[in-house]
Subunit: 152 residues, 2 copies
């Protein structure tokens, strides 16, 4: 999974039109969020082998970054353009929903933008040295982390 | 080279702080641009073999997209997070400067954001079906295009 983190003064979006792979029941269609960590995410083909582990590993990365930034509000925004080897829409949505759930369990406020809809957005990036970061989470790393948890 | 195109109502930025790889004499440090095609670009390691051809091939892609969108104002914005195999800073800056020059020759208004500076930005994406597109330009394809030009 490819992740792009933007520490933002603002992230607002409005779903305008469905694509063929639109999430049927979008969580929400529009939002205006201030002072948040925007997580642009592209779920990749390789992630299909263990969606559960990938979701958990991605959430670990998000928590690391959110912790450094002292951010407790997350906008989780599907962004296919971050990778060219995408997972199927069904798996992508499953992973994103799982990430949303895990983050909420851990106390974050989460706004999940709808998958597969054309969206207008307004993004204001804070511009400090940690305000733009990217990470790749791989199934191998995710499974190692899973094994460590079981062993501990 | 990885390219991400955003058809924007607004792209504004302000360079805040140099990184170690900062462009010494930044073209400009801040701008507010309305109604433009933002081209986020990551010059890749493989592009180092033919920077001239890559710059020309990238400009062809930009012209294709700008033509469809009827956009004549371009913001060229270095974005390392689009790839994980980046070219050296010197080659990246050379390619971006060349792209800026070619686009201006072809009649576009171009604002080139400074390379290697932490920047705050405000981006408003229009949200219509062609407002977010990505392309990869490869040295092989660029050289084929160069050969076609020589032959014609
Ligand atoms: Mg063409």
């Amino acid at each position: 999974m490819r992740l792009l983190f933007i520490h933002a003064d603002e992230m607002s979006f409005e779903a305008r039109q469905k694509t063929k792979i639109a999430e049927e029941e979008p969580p929400i269609k529009e939002a205006e969020v201030e002072d948040c960590l925007v997580v642009f995410a592209a779920v990749q083909e390789a992630d299909e082998e263990n969606p559960k582990a990938i979701a958990e590993a991605a959430v670990e990365e998000i928590e690391d970054v959110a912790g450094e930034l002292k951010a407790d509000r997350i906008v989780l925004y599907p962004y296919a353009h971050l990778a060219d080897d995408l997972a199927s829409p069904d798996v992508a949505v499953e992973v994103l929903k799982r990430m949303e759930g895990l983050l909420k369990e851990r106390g974050y406020e989460v706004v999940r933008a709808p998958f597969g809809w054309y969206k207008a957005f307004r993004l204001a990036c804070k511009g400090h040295p940690l305000s733009e970061l990217s990470r790749t989470v791989t199934p191998e790393a995710a499974e190692e982390a899973e094994e460590e948890k079981i062993e501990s």
